[in-house]
């Protein structure tokens, strides 16, 4: 595979964006080392690479967020210099970031209009609501323009971001790991949207580290590794998954986990007929019952927004339920302070690492003692034992490979993978009886995911009861002993994962349940329970 960007077909396609020799340094690293990249009209161009390979940096340069130290950017053959995202969007380049940039308390329409010159003074929101709904409709992006952003699921928020860029007239759309936050069905919807946009002549840059998706959606691929291009603008249909993986990580990747056989112990966490409401006051859980035993990983599959978040919140004491019971080792913990669960050995890896799982401006030390500061050795009477806390943080840093200059560094300066390791280190080091893991690998790269999976399996080996909430079926299948499926706040059924069953059959059953078919109604399901 030694194709260059001067592919024979290039002549047929107009180049809309051409980046040449882009250099961007950050303290200690060269994020982009003379990177070349080009984009043709109407194509989906995947930018592939592990976390830290420089994908986002390169695209942030293109979107005007960063300024390159060397190199040039041409848009439609014109040399451009962006000093802000506004310059980029004026040139027709819009970026949908991994972390959405929306105002939670405002409506969809207000968010989209934010920062624009029109409307000038009178808002006339109704009129704009219609325009925005129509624009969304055109690209298959269903959204209620009057909904407040905080009420929306992550997938819906992403749609708002996309519409925002389309409304601003983006011809080139940069999607930074858009599928990291989506459920399988939502991913399909997103892909359809992307295709309909290219059909209208828009061009898309698709940043990802997931090979499968890149193979499915992209026309061409550029691979980055450690700031350098290792494959430039290859045609996707002419390359295999293995070859791409090799270009990406520079070694062969093993897609295999070592899960040992283990006899689960007694039931540690039991949920009985749980009902709860969501933030809008609508029923989110309608009678959920499930149990998790010591030494097993129980998966909870489901499309995002079917009650997973509310369930985790009720289990961890962050939300009150309206009916039902949560029993931890036989003791009722629902509608009690979060502290009780923590004291009884309930660990929680939250879905939202930055907003819930960590305090961004506090140090790594302060973040890892979050659930330990009340008891010795970290606590000494009403005081904190700072040397003990520091030592504890140093130990975790070693044991969990947290890459950070010092444990005094504020965690906002950590990368996503490192931040997740800080949270995992904190939760696992408490030697939990039960662990609620929400999307623990979301947005992590291949290496980091492998690390998280190992840690979870080690917890299973250590007789923890683990409830793994995930939207990645592959992850659920490779880790779980049993999988429940949740749909609209109800459990559709439970599937045991054993080596005798074919994965395809299980996936098919999970898929049916995830879209609302109860287990009883699935043919031949009886053999699989």
């Amino acid at each position: 595979m030694t194709q260059t960007e001067h592919h024979p077909e290039a002549k047929d396609h107009e180049i809309v964006v051409e980046m040449r020799g882009i250099v961007k340094r950050f303290p200690g690293v060269v994020a982009n080392d003379h990177v070349d990249f080009n984009l043709r009209r109407g194509e989906i161009h995947a930018l592939l690479g592990e976390n830290g390979a420089g994908k986002s940096t390169l695209m942030n340069v293109l979107a005007g967020l960063y300024q390159q130290e060397a190199g040039t950017i041409r848009v439609n053959s014109r040399l451009v210099e962006f000093s802000s995202p506004k310059d980029a969007i004026d040139a027709g380049i819009g970026m949908v970031h991994q972390h959405f940039m929306l105002v939670p308390s405002q409506t969809v329409t207000e968010n989209i209009l934010l920062g624009l010159d029109k409307p000038r003074f009178r808002l006339l929101l109704n009129q704009y609501d219609k325009v925005i709904a129509e624009l969304g409709e055109r690209f298959g992006l269903q959204i209620d323009p009057r909904a407040k952003v905080w009420q929306l699921s992550v997938g819906e928020q992403q749609r708002v971001e996309i519409i925002k860029m389309l409304y601003r007239g983006a011809q080139v759309l940069i999607m930074d790991e858009p599928t990291a936050v989506l459920a399988p069905q939502e991913i399909e919807g997103l892909f359809n949207t992307l295709r309909s946009m290219t059909a209208e002549g828009k061009s898309i840059i698709f940043i990802s580290h997931k090979l499968q998706e890149v193979m499915e959606i992209s026309d061409r691929v550029t691979v980055l590794r450690k700031g350098k291009v290792t494959a430039a603008g290859l045609l996707t249909k002419e390359i295999t998954r293995q070859e791409l993986a090799h270009q990406m990580v520079g070694r062969e990747v093993i897609f295999h986990l070592d899960k040992q056989d283990k006899q689960p112990g007694e039931v540690v966490l039991a949920v009985e007929n749980l009902h709860a409401e969501n933030d809008k006051g609508l029923p989110a859980l309608r009678g959920v019952s499930l149990n998790v035993r010591a030494g097993e990983i129980v998966g909870l599959a489901g499309v995002a927004g079917n009650g997973q978040r509310e369930l985790a919140q009720v289990l961890t004491g962050l939300r009150d339920c309206t009916q039902g019971k949560v029993l931890l080792k036989g003791e009722s913990i629902n509608n009690r302070p979060a502290r009780l669960g923590i004291r009884m050995g309930l660990a929680h890896i939250p879905e939202d690492r930055t907003h819930v799982g960590s305090a961004p401006n506090l140090s790594v030390t302060d973040n890892v003692i979050m659930k330990k500061y009340r008891k010795p050795p970290i606590a000494r009477g009403w005081m904190l034992d700072i040397p003990a806390a520091t030592q504890f943080a140093e130990e975790l840093k070693q044991a969990y490979d947290i890459i950070v200059p010092s444990v005094e560094t504020p965690v906002r300066l950590l990368s996503g993978g490192n931040l997740q390791r800080v949270i995992l280190a904190r939760e696992i080091s408490s030697e939990p009886v039960v662990m609620i893991a929400m999307q623990p690998t979301r947005g992590l790269d291949v290496g980091a995911i492998e690390g998280v999976h190992r840690l979870l399996l080690a917890q299973r080996q250590a007789d923890s009861a683990i409830l793994l909430v995930s939207e990645e079926l592959e992850e659920l299948l490779s880790l779980s002993d049993r999988i429940y499926v949740i749909y609209e706040g109800r459990i559709m059924g439970e599937v045991k994962v054993t080596s005798e069953k074919s994965e395809d059959k299980i996936i098919e059953m999970l898929g049916l349940m995830m879209t609302g078919t109860p287990l009883e109604q699935i043919d031949g399901a009886a053999n699989h329970v």
Partner: protein
């Protein structure tokens, strides 16, 4: 903003360099904020000097005069310290609330209540006039602290229980506090119809340096009082609580991310009330210190807006208790020296310029300035 096409700015291209601002991705070294702040003050003085020169003044003589008026001799430096003492305490009060994201702008009212509480001990009287000083002072301190804490407790409770905005309640309670004091100095404790209480007995005064002039002649005329020790002690206590105690950890955690705090099982409501009381107590102590160390009677004009200046100082010091001490001394000097030059005008202006430069310099802590070579097209 429309420098998209380079053709439109050929001049820039020929230069080959441009200034670029980037968000900092790592923490600047520890000395950096101090150097930047010092630089900001120097630049502010230069700007002030230019303006002074423009209106026909001599900047050097003016600054020299300010310096002399605030730091020139033991006497004036002592006066600067007297001004700084209440500022340190109210700024600490503001800082502990701000640390948890509580916008207590009621330090002024809590200051008045503290003064009232301390006065009540003498004027009610709770203690007989001939009580020895070592009993009088601690009881007055306690009364001042409790009264201030009560004034913090009310908005704290309203915030925790009913989610009432503490900015509004603390602000409004400032006016109540002033009027409350006025009621007592006009009606209850008025001295022969004047709007002030009788002077406190000497044993209810905080000891001053000048009180020891008989044995140490150097102290003659120095009005620095025991309140300074209280203020410095309070700074140490606040630092210790914030960085070394479990409670301080909770405050920092809630202040940085309330959702994470909730997730970690913290009781946020209880902390809202406690922190508001702690904040009120510190401001109350400031009131007590001022009334027993300087004024020696309850009267109307006991604060030239200390409570509000404290908000500014707390921010300028970035909530660091020891930086608060330094900034308070600087502000004390400006208040004192200002009166020397002109009742208003120039000194206020210099204060304003310093403030603006310090706030602006914060930008350099978050961004780095780089000189970048604009690459020529290959």
């Amino acid at each position: 903003m429309s420098e998209i096409a380079s053709e439109s700015s050929p001049k820039k291209r020929r230069l080959g360099f441009k200034i670029q601002l980037e968000p900092r991705l790592s923490e600047p070294p520890r000395w950096y904020p101090f150097v930047i702040s010092l630089g900001a003050i120097i630049i502010a003085l230069i700007i002030g000097g230019i303006i002074l020169a423009a209106v026909g003044g001599d900047p050097f003589r003016t600054y020299a005069h300010i310096g002399r008026a605030a730091f020139g001799s033991a006497g004036v430096f002592s006066d600067t310290i007297v001004k700084a003492t209440p500022l340190i305490l109210v700024s600490l009060a503001a800082s502990v609330a701000f640390r948890m994201g509580l916008w207590n702008i009621g330090a002024e009212g809590q200051f008045f209540l503290g003064a009232f509480g301390a006065s009540a001990v003498v004027l009610t009287p709770l203690l007989p006039v001939d009580t020895p000083r070592w009993i009088f002072i601690p009881v007055m301190m306690l009364a001042g602290i409790l009264a201030g804490a009560l004034w913090g407790f009310i908005p704290g409770l309203l915030k925790a229980r009913y989610n009432v905005n503490e900015i509004i309640t603390t602000l409004m309670m400032n006016y109540i506090a002033v009027s409350w004091n006025n009621f007592f100095i006009f009606a209850v404790w008025s001295e022969r119809g004047f709007q002030m209480s009788p002077v406190f007995p000497k044993n209810a005064w905080l000891p001053r340096l000048t009180d020891y002039a008989a044995s140490i002649p150097l102290f003659r005329g120095l009005t620095t009082h025991f309140g300074l020790i209280l203020a410095l002690g309070a700074a140490v206590v606040v630092w210790f609580v914030t960085y070394r105690s479990r409670w301080g950890y909770e405050i920092r955690l809630i202040g940085d991310n309330p959702r994470a705090a909730k997730y970690a099982g913290l009781n946020i409501k209880r902390n809202i009330i406690l922190v508001m009381m702690f904040s009120g107590a510190l401001a109350g102590l400031a009131g007590m210190s001022e009334i027993t160390g300087v004024v020696h009677r309850l009267q109307g004009a006991i604060s030239p807006g200390y409570g509000f200046t404290g908000i500014i100082i707390a921010w300028l010091a970035k909530l660091n208790p020891f930086a608060i001490v330094l900034v308070s001394v600087l502000f004390g000097a400006l208040i004192l020296a200002g009166r020397e030059i002109q009742p208003s005008g120039i000194p206020k202006m210099i204060q304003g310029i310093i403030l603006v430069s310090l706030i602006a310099s914060d930008f350099l802590l978050r961004y780095r300035v780089r000189l970048v070579r604009t690459a020529e097209e290959a």
